[in-house]
């Protein structure tokens, strides 16, 4: 990595910058309007006062964060103790997202490997097949999944039919259903980056490793995985982050018991029951967590790369 930075030509040339700067304006505009502005707005909202029919009063307040972290009793007059409700929801969400990511990795890596090692002309067909379900709206897909796994749905009927089970498996409104939903929603985000990495992998390296007495398993561990690691990391991030904030799968498949962050935030912005500053505060806390995780990863990767 350091080598690439060193090779950057020294273009301290001001005339070059003068020409390029205006060309970058659209980029800055897009980043400003669609990234900085909404996040900034969210940050500001989280420090405002709640208005009763939804919306905000422009008055500074820490109430939203207070509500998240502290419990002052039913009437707000007791000494504050740590509030566990939301932390539990966060914890459950992180856990669900981790499991969904691992599930996607376990299925996605072999799938990506399989596709990348097909003859060049049939790879396109396989990728196409992978993306077909994604032509349908996520909501509809999640609902169909619910129909598929409910008590008198085709899955249970089939299992009952062949006599594998005596009564229907209760799948809907379980953790398992949520993970299944997340897995189903985000699998391609795991497959595609890993596919791209494996496709670029030079299989002569595996031959070279075998030639130097490495077994298949050792070759995978010592040669293949380190080289395709960027694809794996990208896939994991692309699955983990949306899984963490997902609300369709937990809502439709998990029921009230398996409430996740996404649903919590979603509710705060709905109708008169909502609480915009609180929703904004939860979003900010979630974002901060994700960013800390990414920074930690980036630091460990930089260390690993330098070694």
């Amino acid at each position: 990595m350091a080598g690439i930075a060193d090779q950057t030509p020294a273009t301290g040339d001001d005339s070059y910058r003068r020409i390029v700067a205006p060309l970058l304006l659209p980029t800055w505009a897009v980043i400003g309007i669609f990234l900085v502005l909404p996040v900034g707005l969210m940050a500001v909202y989280s420090f405002l006062t709640k208005e009763f029919r939804g919306g905000v009063d422009w008055q500074f307040s820490l109430a939203a964060y207070d509500q998240f972290f502290l419990n002052r009793g039913l009437f707000g007059d007791e000494p504050p103790v740590l509030e566990w409700t939301y932390i539990t929801i966060f914890w459950r969400s992180i856990w669900q997202a981790v499991v969904a990511t691992l599930l996607c990795l376990a299925i996605g890596f072999p799938t990506a490997w399989f596709i990348a090692t097909r003859p060049a002309h049939s790879r396109g067909v396989w990728l196409f097949l992978i993306t077909i379900p994604y032509w349908v709206n996520l909501l509809i897909r999640t609902v169909s999944l619910k129909f598929l796994i409910r008590d008198n749905g085709p899955l249970n009927e089939a299992l009952l039919g062949i006599g594998l089970i005596d009564g229907p498996l209760p799948l809907v409104n379980t953790n398992l259903a949520v993970q299944l939903g997340l897995f189903y929603s985000y699998l391609p985000f795991m497959v595609l980056p890993i596919y791209a990495a494996v496709e670029r992998y030079n299989f002569a390296l595996s031959e070279a490793a075998a030639d130097l007495y490495a077994s298949r398993w050792v070759t995978l561990r010592e040669i293949v995985l380190p080289i395709v690691k960027p694809g794996i990391v990208a896939g994991c991030l692309l699955v983990f982050i949306p899984s963490l904030g997902a609300f369709l799968a937990p809502d439709l498949l998990g029921g009230a018991k398996n409430f996740m962050i996404g649903s919590l935030i979603d509710e705060q912005f709905k109708g008169s029951l909502g609480n915009w500053p609180f929703g904004a505060a939860v979003s900010m806390i979630l974002m901060t967590l994700v960013m800390i995780a990414l920074l930690l990863y980036a630091r460990s990767a930089a260390k690993g790369g330098a070694a």
Binding site: G3, A204, L205, E207, A208, A209, A210, D211, Y213, I223
Partner: protein
């Protein structure tokens, strides 16, 4: 001397295409053996079958007397220097060289020490901590060589390892490789399509073409006594003439050249009729009068140490002649009518 590798009637088919048609070879221990042939003749295929990367369709390969069919590549005591090096991009040069030792279970200290010595041998000690992408092509080539030699294989396979290097480096590496092979006593199987490389380094050479082995022999045997038209033409330069064998008596054949001139040359068989006759350009000399053949000079190319002459025999056939350039002799001019003298035994009748 025992055989390191014996290849018995090996056939390789890819679908309906046959890449090797029953190749048989025996490679001796400690030998520098070269597979030489034009692009696509099956050299890499044969090497990959020895290393274990390709299945053998038919026939068998013995390694020190043991049939290695079904043995996975990681269990064969052979190492390969790959045509495009295949260095591990995420490992330092030192780790690359130490990889085979690591896989053999050599302790960390010992393998680092040995890898360091290997790098010294290929003059790359200063580059031990670099990544392969930070090396030049020639340096990468030497890392690949050090990596393959580090685990002390009994047989080293080299697939055109010098083809990516510039001429100067290539010539230097030829000498180094040969020296290395002699010092280590490892059997080298060296693949190339460059005949000069083959002639200068090899103990023996197998000339291949279109999936067949055409001839096996020392550089001298192959150059001096090619068995057929392909070998004569592929190795070095030669004049190939379509001749008519008029009579054979006492191992000497009377052959008639296209233009009607005739000469006598040794012949192993006594079949009459059309044959190919090979005469190397440097085995011809110019004489003012007499000689074996009469010719007219058409073109003279000045090569520094040598002069290359294109002459035409009386009656049509072209004949290349190569003579040493000397300050005293007169340089022939186009249009000169000269005699060509053929060195004793230099005109060879080919089997086909």
């Amino acid at each position: 001397m025992s055989d390191a590798i014996e290849i018995r009637r090996v056939v390789k088919r890819y679908g309906t295409f046959t890449a090797l048609h029953g190749v048989s070879l025996a490679i001796r221990d400690n030998e520098f053996f070269t597979l030489l042939g034009p692009s696509g003749c099956g050299k890499t295929t044969l090497l990959r079958m020895i290393a274990g990367f390709e299945d053998v369709t038919q026939g068998e390969i013995l390694l020190f007397g043991q049939n290695i069919a079904g043995l996975e590549p990681d269990r064969r005591p052979v190492n390969t220097v790959f045509q495009n090096y295949a260095l591990f991009p995420h490992m330092s040069v030192l780790d690359n060289v130490a990889f085979g030792l690591k896989m053999k279970g050599v302790a960390a200290d010992a393998r680092r020490a040995r890898a360091g010595r290997m790098l010294e041998m290929v003059h790359l000690s200063a580059f031990a901590d670099r990544l392969p992408s930070q090396l030049s092509g020639g340096q990468q080539q030497r890392v690949a060589l050090a990596r393959a030699l580090a685990p002390e294989p009994r047989v080293l396979l080299l697939d055109e390892p010098l083809s990516a290097l510039d001429l100067k480096l290539r010539q230097a590496m030829r000498v180094e490789l040969k020296q290395l092979q002699e010092d280590t006593g490892i059997t080298f199987i060296f693949v190339t399509h460059d005949q000069e490389e083959a002639l200068t380094m090899s103990d023996r050479i197998a000339v291949m073409s279109a999936g067949h082995v055409q001839q096996i022999g020392t550089a001298r045997e192959i150059y001096e006594a090619p068995v057929n038209r392909f070998v004569a033409d592929f190795i070095g330069e030669t004049n190939l003439l379509e001749v008519e064998v008029a009579s054979v008596a006492g191992g000497q054949a009377r052959v008639v050249l296209p233009g009607g001139q005739a000469l006598t040359c040794p012949s192993a068989s006594d079949t009459l009729g059309r044959h190919a006759l090979s005469i190397r350009p440097e085995r011809l000399s110019l004489v003012e009068a007499g000689g074996d053949l009469k010719a007219t000079v058409e073109r003279v190319v000045y090569l520094g140490t040598d002069l290359q002459l294109l002459t035409r025999l009386e009656g049509g056939a072209e004949m290349q002649v190569r003579v040493q350039n000397s300050a005293r002799a007169r340089v022939p001019q186009p249009g000169d009518r000269l005699g060509l003298r053929i060195e004793e035994g230099a005109a060879r009748l080919l089997a086909d």
